[in-house]
Amino acid sequence: MSSKVIKTFLFAFLALGVLFVGVKVTKPMFEEHRDAVRYKFNLETVDGPITQEDFKGKVVALYFGYMYCPDVCPTSLSSLSEALKTLPQEEQENFKGLFVSVDPKRDSLEHLKGYAAYFHKNFIGATIDDEKYLHELTERYGGYFRKVALEGSKMGYSVNHTSDIFLFDKNGNYSSKIPHMARQEDIIKALRKAEGR
């Protein structure tokens, strides 16, 4: 082999190494940025507008639902609350639950506040009177909802929706997703992971 070939190989090898290290370093940064864009939100509460920035320093558990939901939403919110209540009181203060209504027509901001606090004192309720935005938001989260007319039902319409709880760490970075009907020990594990414990 000529020295020229060896040099070329060496160069290629070094270049790959540099590229590898570069990817290793920038990938988490890139992912953080991508998540920040993917999960950002602008919502309204009865106490004023909120964005993800407002929750720096808190672990956030976000859930999309609607107040007329008789079963699935209360079950999810209660499971989250019960799991949280197994943690010491002061540790619970690290958490904020965020119930995002996808049914702003029926769920007023005032009602949402009382509804969320019913499950845990650190839960707040939010929505925005902009269904297009709510669709865009839930889709970014990998969720989904759709209003479905209930023929002949006094309820008028129901909302089909995904039922996952999204967890974000204290820096606002996505941590994990708790699936519907998760076991309490798995919820606690996910909460602790988001806390960095």
Binding site: M67, Y68, C69, P70, D71, V72, P74, T75, L77, S78, E82, D107, S108, E110, H111, L112, G114, Y115, Y118, F119, Y144, V148, L150, E151, G152, S153, K154, M155, S158, N160, H161, T162, S163, D164, P179, H180, M181
Partner: protein, 150 residues
């Protein structure tokens, strides 16, 4: 021990026997503030040799009661009204969170734990079953059913 006795007592009280259908462990969910709806869950047992359905329900605490169910398709929860809830001969059907339930629409006042709610079920054979169902918050209701079945 005291609690156990109390629970057994409650089970007896909440069991209502009709000639064809037996209702066990009925409860209605306490309502969070601002929610005018609720749902009732229970175990329906058919000890007869004929299939029976629940076709309607009513209660003095709400304007309308409807029979609803849930299913989950690709992670999406759907809730919709059904015409009837079937209970096969010598079988049972469980009304539970995530599945069949009796939907209370237009509550006249909020439901709080400790309250008792009257409930009337109309069956496909024309029979009516009257019962009283306690109001429970989400978790104690689920724990109760859990304990009874596993």
């Amino acid at each position: 021990m005291k609690l156990k006795l109390l629970m057994i007592l409650m089970l007896i009280i909440s069991s209502v026997s009709a000639s064809s259908l037996m209702v066990n462990n009925a409860y209605v969910r306490a309502t969070p503030p601002g929610v005018p709806n609720s749902a009732a869950f229970m175990m329906l047992m058919n000890h007869s040799a004929k299939d029976i359905s629940v076709v309607a329900a009513s209660s003095s605490v709400a304007k309308t009661l409807e029979l609803h169910t849930h299913d989950m398709v690709n992670g999406v929860m759907r809730m919709y009204q059904v015409e009837k809830i079937d209970v096969a001969k010598n079988g049972h059907t469980m009304l539970k969170p995530g599945g069949f339930h009796i939907m209370f629409l237009g509550l006249k006042s909020p439901l709080t734990e400790g309250q008792n709610v009257d409930l009337e079920l109309t069956l496909s054979n024309g029979e009516k079953i009257k019962l009283k169902a306690p109001v429970k918050n989400v978790m104690s209701g689920m724990k109760m059913n859990h304990g009874h079945h596993h």
